[in-house]
Structures are given as structure tokens and as C-alpha cells.
Symmetry: C2
């Protein structure tokens, strides 16, 4: 848990943004935003729950399922008057909806005719949530504040940076575990198991948290599709794979991707890996506070463009605190048109992955913007790793 | 992957329900429902994607992000005409929304003025998705079909049962790993790491898949709140904990919860565990096809009621195939008012957890309804497990 003062400061900043947006009441559905303001981290977001911020109240109000209320009391700074729970018969019912209950609470506390900010494009605020809210609060006005709190989260505090550095140490351990475990005859699931073990065990000093995206380790032609996970096939000599994982410490993430092969990698993979490495180095050399997000992408594009390569997807995005299903913060993206000015203590997943129809390469870094440039949050060679094959001499290895 | 015939049969059943509901087009946002119809399982649901089922077309159409299209082609039975992707600049943009693209496709294929079923209360169909859809298709009618496909999934095929039994073997291994690892001086995260490793490694014959909910293992007073995960605190003599986990095999789940202590458990935990065990045994003795879901709950309530105990939350729910954030299928619940008639090859997580303000007990089973009664999908003692403490004789153990 952060110091109470840090939570109060965060809440004050959120309230200022609410005023700027002309919003009297903010309804938070995004678990990352709930955690940011209160430290609430239980896996209870699979049922509807919300946090209510009003301009007047010194604490947010949590509204959720009965069996989760005690966990809110035990793990957050909210007092008992700010923890309100609905009976279990609201859960996945075709007759009642938890948001009906939320609307009634808002009415009871005199907030039914206000301008209410809702996170319109957040996974946990479904279409039906909004319909029930409009039905229950016919005199309210609604405004889309999908990423209001997300933008407050953009610049990290010293303690948040410390947490992300711990996450960085954890992802180094997890990637090392993958490198060690991959071998001919080993199954993809065995490698995934080794990654998970390292992620969760953490270091002797601090334990790991679950990551908001599971390990993704597609092999061979499946590397063309970065979000495939794993199978129970065994690796063969000459296989290549991308490994995209994160370390997490108390919900703060440091993602990292690397590309490796068993024995010699195919030539096209080797060549693409070199170009991606050159591109990421050129981009890192260039990054500094004061520049626009789209400029970061432009350096990358020019560097790989010299070799005739092109990446159609964004080059990266802000990261930090998150809950499933995504570790991105949904604010800044490194892509044309994003004119956000980089500032110290913004943190990004610099994501130079290139995916062609039958193969792909991913070599990525989590970085912090510093006063003068950038700092890597992990320390791990970016080279394509060609794992020596057990029992086969190098010149016998197939490509 | 299931046989093509099984996918086609599933699709036919879905189309029949669409006709019953008066729906011409079904938009699927729930990743479990996408997987059920096509085998698509990538972790790409953190960006908007949809599957379109029309009454006329012999295949669903997948619409999603460009970098994910190749994975759909490589892992499903959809042909290239049924895989449509949107450019990356739609992702998390404030100017464009992926559902605008979906609306355009529906218009192009002549479905813009139909009755369209949407999954109104599904995590991945946000309020904004619905607003953009209404905006893009002003001549369409919309109908809530949140659980249309979920209900089709309720009765499992023989192969689905086989997958769930494999998941059952995996969760036995994961619970065993937890029992073995818990000890004085060991951290909660070390136990979680052991659970994950066993879950993902699976058995020598088949590997494990990630589970839709992470391991939950609250300790001592935190057992009052079942959805707390873990910390990096070390266990002490006399600690008790609930462990709720699942095994997963190719997205099919078998959840299980148990309660254990390090050394002697507190008396109130022991007593409650005995009552929960008696309750679950009485309930299992009673379960058979032909009865109503609410009757299952009623036997349980009467049994524990004799001892003055009461559980206010539902006693269980249907399980099987799932994606995060929930392993429940969102159809049948064991609770008053649910009059669904149990039928062979329905599968449930029978969930007798009781949570009081300072402690809780969970002892659960995943079951299949058979022709005459039920079958457990796991084989694991339900007794409260009091782990012998290393280096301390039993009569020295504190309670």
C-alpha cells in the first residue's frame, strides 16, 4: 500500500480533472483505476462493482458484491461508511442488475441529477451497465470519462517507479527461466510453467504478482500472430519462437519480449532480428523528454525503412499499473498523430514487433523517461538467442 | 480442436436459437463463445473483436485487429473470406472505434437493417461499443442475446467431458503442489508459484492451459474475502488458508477449493469445515437429473441450517469452457428461483464456501450430472488438511 497522503493526492488530482471536464460524479469501473485510488486488488471484477468519486466526499465509495466487502475493508483505506455491498441475488441474474443497485445508492446520496462521468469504453462497464444506469437515473447527464483516471496515472511517483523496477527484475528472471528451459523434446507448456514459476516466486526479497496478460510464446509460423499463447507440442531442432511476458510487482508491470531459436535460427529471422535491434537502438538514442510521442515512432520507421521493412502497428504504449485483460494504460501510443509530450517518469513498453505472414520477431523494452533521456527498467541482452542444442554439435544443426 | 462436424453442429444449434429469439444476425463479443464456435483462443480480446453469425452464412465471420488475423487463419476452421481485420489506428484511438469498422462491414454484407443480437452484459461489449453500433446502423433493431451461446454450451459433448476430466487431473496436481509447499517460513507467493507450475505443466500426457481466474489463497482473517489472491508474507504456525484454483485443459476448466492450516487449525475453522463437508455430502447424495437447480441449494441450506449456519451466496454455477475474467458460464446457478432442470452432461462448480467476518471455509467440487446422479471430476479428499509442522511435535503445535 502507498502512503495515505499519496492516495489523497491522487484523489485530489482526479477531482481537478473532474472539474475540468464538468463532471460532478465519477463512476469508476476499471479495476486499475480502483486500485490506483484505494489499493483494492481482489479478483472480484468478474462481477459488477464500481467506485464512486464525488467532488464533496473525501473518500471514494466502493459498491460491490456482498462477499467482497470484507476484503475492501481489510485492504484499502476506505472506512466502513464508504463500503456498500449488494446482495448475492443481483449476481448474473436475469431479473436484477447490480447497476440498478448502484443507481439507487446514487439517488440516496443525492447524486441522481448530476453530471456523471462513466468509463464508456472500459471492459468492465458493459452496454447493459450503461442502459441500466440511464434507466435508474433519468435526471442525470452522462459524459464519457473513459480514461480520465488513466491520464492521471501517466506520470509515476518515485514509489511507483520503484515497484516497476522490481517488476523489471522479475521479468529478467522469467525470461532467463524460459531461455534455460527451452530445448529439443521439451514441451511449450513446460516452458510456460517455468516462466510462471519465476514470475510469481519473484526474488528472495519480494514476491511476484500475476501479470495482466499471460505468457505468449508462439512458435515458428505462429510467430506471425503475437497473441497466441502455448500448446503442449515439443520443440524440435531449428524451431524459433517469440516470448512476450511481463514481471509484475503489486500490480505494477514491466513487460519484455525476446526472440530465440533452438539451434540455428532461419536466415530471415536472423536478418529481421538485426534490423529490429538496430531500430530499437536508434529509437532509444533519440528518446528524451519534450518530444512528441509520434516522433519516437518516426525515428523507428525511418531506421527500419532503410531496409525495406515497415511496421503497421504502433511502436509502444504507456504501461504501469494494470489488471487483466491488458497491461497497457490506454493513454499514450507511439504512433503518427499522437502529439503527447514526453515527460520525466512516464513509462512505456517500447514494442518493436514485426509480424509477417509466416514469421515474426519481437524484441522490446520497458523504459522510463528521465530528465535527459531514458532509463531501461530491465537489463537483458536484446540479441536473438540461438540456444545451443544438447547433444548436437554446432555444425550439425539444421537451420 | 474439435471435429469440424462438432463445430457445425454447434453453429446450427446457435442458429436455431437465433430463430427462436427473432434475431437475424448475432454479434459475439464473449471470447468463450468465439472459441466454442471456431477454436479461436488468442489473448487478443483486450482489443475489440467480434464474431458475426448470420442465418445464411455457413461460417461465422471474425472481425478483429490486423496483427491477430493470421492467428485466426492458422488456428480456426474459418476460411480467408471470413477473416476481416481493421487497421491498427483503430486501436485505443479517441477518433475512431473498431465497432465503426464492424458496422461498416455489416452494411457492406447487407445486414444493416436486420434484427441484431448483441451480448449486452458481456465484459468485452462495452457501453461505447453499443453506442457506436447504434450510430453506425441506424436502421437495425437490437436485441439482448447476452447468454444465447452460453446456454447452447450448457450440455457438454463427450469430448468436452474428456477435456474437463483432464482439467480435473491437473487441478488435483495443483492442489497437491500447494499442500506440499505450504509450510512455516514459506511465502504465499512461493505457494502460488508452485500452483501455477503444476497447472501449466499439466501431466506427462497433456499440458495445462491458463485458468480464467488466478489462484486465490487468502490467509487467516482474509479468508473472509474469497477473491483476495496472495502476498509475499511468510506463513506462521497456526495460520489457515483457503485455496481456490482450477485446472484448465484447452480452455476447459475444473475448479476446486480446499481449506488447510499449518499445524492445528482454529476450532471455529475445524467446526465449520465439518459442517461444510456434511453439507456437500448431503447435497451430492441428492443431486440427479430431472431436479431443479434451486432444489440443490435447498438440500444444502437445510443441512447446514440444522447447525445454525447460513450461506447467503449461491451454492454453485455451471462451468466448462471459459476465458478471463471468469470461469463460470453465466447460465445456471444453484440458488432459490433458478428452475433450470438438471440434465446429464451439465457440469457445475458446486461451491459451498461460507465467509464470516473474520474467517471462511471453502470445500468445493466440480461435478458432471450423469444419467442417474452425479460424477466428481476430481478425486481429492475434502477433509480440512492440517499440515504437519516441520520440527514441531503435534502436541507442541499452537491452535
Amino acid at each position: 500500500m502507498f502512503a495515505l497522503e499519496e492516495y489523497k493526492q491522487r484523489l485530489e488530482t482526479v477531482k481537478k480533472r473532474m472539474v475540468d471536464e464538468g463532471v460532478d460524479v465519477l463512476l469508476i469501473s476499471n479495476p486499475s483505476n480502483m486500485f490506483y485510488l484505494t489499493n483494492y486488488s481482489a479478483w472480484s471484477f468478474y462481477v459488477h462493482q464500481m467506485m464512486v468519486v464525488t467532488l464533496e466526499d473525501a473518500q471514494p465509495i466502493w459498491i460491490g458484491r456482498q462477499m467482497d466487502a470484507s476484503g475492501v475493508g481489510k485492504t484499502t483505506w476506505l472506512d466502513e461508511h464508504h463500503i456498500i455491498s449488494y446482495p448475492d441475488f443481483y449476481v448474473q441474474s436475469t431479473e436484477r442488475h447490480p447497476v440498478d443497485f448502484v443507481a439507487n445508492i446514487l439517488t440516496e446520496i443525492g447524486q441522481s441529477a448530476r453530471t456523471i462521468g462513466v468509463e464508456m469504453d472500459v471492459h468492465y462497464f458493459t452496454a447493459l451497465c450503461y442502459e441500466r444506469l440511464k434507466h435508474g437515473l433519468p435526471n442525470a447527464k452522462f459524459k464519457d470519462t473513459s480514461s480520465l483516471v488513466n491520464w492521471v496515472r501517466l506520470i509515476k511517483s518515485q514509489k511507483e517507479i520503484k515497484f516497476m523496477k522490481r517488476a523489471g527484475k522479475i521479468v529478467e528472471k522469467a525470461m532467463t527461466a524460459a531461455y534455460e528451459r527451452v530445448q529439443i523434446g521439451v514441451r511449450e507448456c513446460d516452458v510456460a510453467a517455468a516462466i510462471y514459476h519465476a514470475q510469481i516466486q519473484g526474488t528472495p526479497e519480494y514476491g511476484g504478482d500475476y501479470t495482466s496478460i499471460v505468457p505468449m510464446l508462439p512458435t515458428n509460423e505462429n510467430t506471425s500472430s503475437p497473441h497466441l499463447t502455448w500448446t503442449d507440442k515439443t520443440y524440435e531442432n531449428g524451431d524459433f519462437l517469440t516470448i512476450e511476458i511481463a514481471g509484475a510487482y503489486r500490480r505494477y508491470h514491466a513487460p519484455m519480449a525476446r526472440t530465440m531459436s533452438i539451434g540455428t535460427a532461419p536466415n530471415e529471422v536472423k536478418e529481421l532480428a538485426k534490423i529490429v535491434e538496430e531500430g530499437i537502438e536508434a529509437t532509444l538514442d533519440f528518446i528524451q523528454p519534450g518530444m512528441k510521442a509520434e516522433e519516437v515512432e518516426s525515428v523507428w520507421s525511418k531506421t527500419i525503412g532503410k531496409y525495406g521493412h515497415r511496421k503497421s502497428s504502433r511502436l509502444g504504449y504507456s504501461v504501469g499499473l494494470s489488471f487483466p485483460p491488458d497491461w497497457g494504460e490506454h493513454t499514450v501510443s507511439f504512433r503518427p498523430g499522437d502529439e503527447t509530450i514526453l515527460q520525466p517518469n512516464m513509462t512505456f513498453h517500447l514494442m518493436p514487433g514485426i509480424w509477417y505472414s509466416d514469421y515474426g520477431v519481437e524484441i522490446t523494452e520497458t523504459i522510463r523517461i528521465t530528465d535527459k533521456g531514458h532509463e531501461l527498467l530491465t537489463n537483458f541482452s536484446r540479441d536473438l538467442y540461438e540456444k545451443p542444442v544438447l547433444g548436437i554439435l554446432p555444425d550439425e544443426q539444421t537451420s
